[in-house]
């Protein structure tokens, strides 16, 4: 028999108590992992930002457009390799609650986003058709769309019904790539606007700029913005990362609240496990006294108490992690749907797993500190007196 066997037997000594604590840790692990994943999903756009891409938008607000004519001027600025255009379309499919991001873009835009992996024949088909669109794999799965399907969107900014033919379904080059976007030709939108709402035509939402390697993005951004200083539509140019950060900062308070909640749930389970371990140690003081009498050292007692605490904490973590994997594998589409597309990228990342593991480890260690300290400090004679 080794110490580990005694630890294992001690864990099973009060099956109901252990089971409840174990389940508590499993549920908290699940909740913690889920919240952290949601936070990661929210910041996924930032993680996916390319180093050599910049975004120019109206200095007043993202809500205000920029003249298309700026494109040529930006393209001439030193360090700029390519300029693409993007426009938030804000349409919905059937039900306004069925939210997903839909953008009008030009071909340069797609060239720059190499993380959208699309078979060449699909890209060619898209480029040849005026009202073609490209959608992400997760979006296709969510609505059951396939190549050739005609999708009718209802505009909320650009009113009316807009028909698109799906000619491409892209996959993300990595886990942080958004696979829920709906992209189509800006020209298609612009041509119709010229006829139906000419005042909106030839305006775009933002420019995406690819800069050459080794070029200082700050200098390029300053050069672009200086170019349009004192014009009717002044610009604000930033790296894509900064742009995405400013975009998501609108929900910064919610994210902060979620981060606090994730820490609070860990603290709560820490108290629960600490209470369990304190009760356990108190009940076993006489046994610890006997072990000490037999010659067991303080580190043996610390191993026994700490081992039991860690076994419960890490066992609960393993079950909670299993629940996370199961849910994410089987219900990712449901989560996206339930969140109205809010969480398009819902992947359990290694960082989240590591953070959850570290939390469980911390809970297991901290919960054992006080009971182990008491057991080590206890005088043998005092411990033996607890028997009678």
């Amino acid at each position: 028999m080794k110490i580990f066997k005694l630890i294992f037997k001690n864990v099973l000594r009060h099956p109901l108590r252990t089971l409840l604590t174990f389940l508590g840790i499993a549920i908290v692990t699940f909740a913690f992992g889920f919240i952290r994943t949601a936070i990661s999903a929210w910041y996924a756009g930032v993680e996916a930002s390319a180093q050599n891409r910049m975004v120019t938008l109206n200095a007043t607000s993202l809500m205000f457009p920029l003249p298309l004519a700026y494109r040529e001027k930006i393209a001439q600025i030193s360090g700029v390799q390519s300029v693409g255009i993007g426009n938030w379309f804000g349409a919905y499919y059937k039900d306004p609650k069925d939210f997903f991001a839909n953008f009008a873009v030009d071909d340069k835009y797609l060239e720059m986003y190499s993380e959208f992996v699309l078979p060449p024949e699909q890209l060619a088909a898209y480029e040849q058709e005026r009202n073609a669109c490209i959608i992400g794999r997760k979006l296709a799965n969510r609505f059951g769309w396939k190549l050739g399907d005609i999708v009718q969107l209802t505009g909320t900014i650009y009113y009316g019904q807009w028909d698109f033919v799906i000619r491409g379904i892209y996959d993300g080059a990595n886990a942080t790539t958004d696979e829920t976007a709906f992209l189509f030709h800006w020209e298609y939108v612009n041509e119709r606007l010229k006829q139906e709402s000419p005042e909106l035509a030839d305006y775009i939402g933002w420019f995406v700029i690819q800069i050459a390697n080794g070029v200082n993005p700050v200098a390029v951004g300053e050069a672009i913005d200086a170019n349009f200083k004192n014009s009717p539509a002044e610009t604000k140019t930033d790296t894509e990362r900064a742009f995405n950060l400013s975009f998501i900062s609108m929900a910064g308070t919610i994210m902060t609240a979620m981060e606090i909640i994730s820490i609070v749930v860990v603290l709560i389970i820490l108290l629960v496990l600490a209470n369990t371990m304190a009760m356990t140690a108190r009940e076993r003081m006489s046994e610890y006294a006997v072990l000490k009498t037999l010659g067991f050292r303080p580190f043996h007692l610390v191993s026994l108490i700490g081992g039991e605490s860690l076994l419960i904490a890490l066992g609960g973590f393993a079950v909670g992690l299993g629940m996370l994997f199961y849910i994410f594998k089987n219900f990712a589409v449901v989560i996206t749907k339930l969140s109205n597309g809010f969480f398009g990228i819902f992947n359990l990342t290694n960082n989240t797993i590591a953070l959850t593991f570290a939390s469980a480890l911390l809970v297991g260690v901290v919960a054992a500190i006080f009971p182990a300290w008491r057991a080590v400090r206890m005088r043998i004679a005092d411990g033996l007196h607890r028997i009678a």
């Binding site: 028999m1 110490i3 005694l6 046994e287 009498t293 010659g295 009678a388």
Partner: protein
Amino acid sequence: MANSIVEVRNVAKSYRRGSMKIPVLENITLDVPAGEFMALMGPSGSGKSTLLNLIAGIDRPDSGSIIVANDDVTKLSESRMANWRSRHIGFVFQFYNLIPVLTAYENVELPLLLTKLSKKERNEHVKTALGVVSLGDRMKHYPKQLSGGQQQRVAIARAIVADPTLIVADEPTGDLDKVSATEILTLLERLNHEFKKSIILVTHDQRAADKAHTVRHLDKGELV
């Protein structure tokens, strides 16, 4: 005294209760020859268990010296004291103090986990010890599946399994019926006789004391 396994010299021990100092033992001097079976008797609160704890190295005196198996236990650090206890002392408690989640075999094996013995060697020692206390057929039983007398025999097997220099027993029959108590006393007597183990027994029971070679009485912290 020559050939003493235990030499207690001018030992005093007191406890604090709040601001009050309560003397428990005063100026105790005692010798226990090797191979002795000594009974310590006295009324409750006379200090006999405290003296036993001091001799066994699980408590420390305020003053005086205690030499057991040629080691002055009052001068050992906590760590060395633990190691010393595991090598020299076998304990038998009034309430058996077995670990409830371990079988009789595993309880007896506990002291051997601190040694460098192989699993096979531990197995031999445990079986021998359980054989000595006639519980070879109860190895896989948990304490709750054993009677009080059987549990105390397992405790004795645990006390002797590492072949200690001295066995100390604190009221080992105090929680047992008459028949079981007689069995335990006979067993202790056999350990002393047959296996030449030195034993110090703390007891209230005159029948238990009658089994000992010598009986010392403690009263109000002094040997009388």
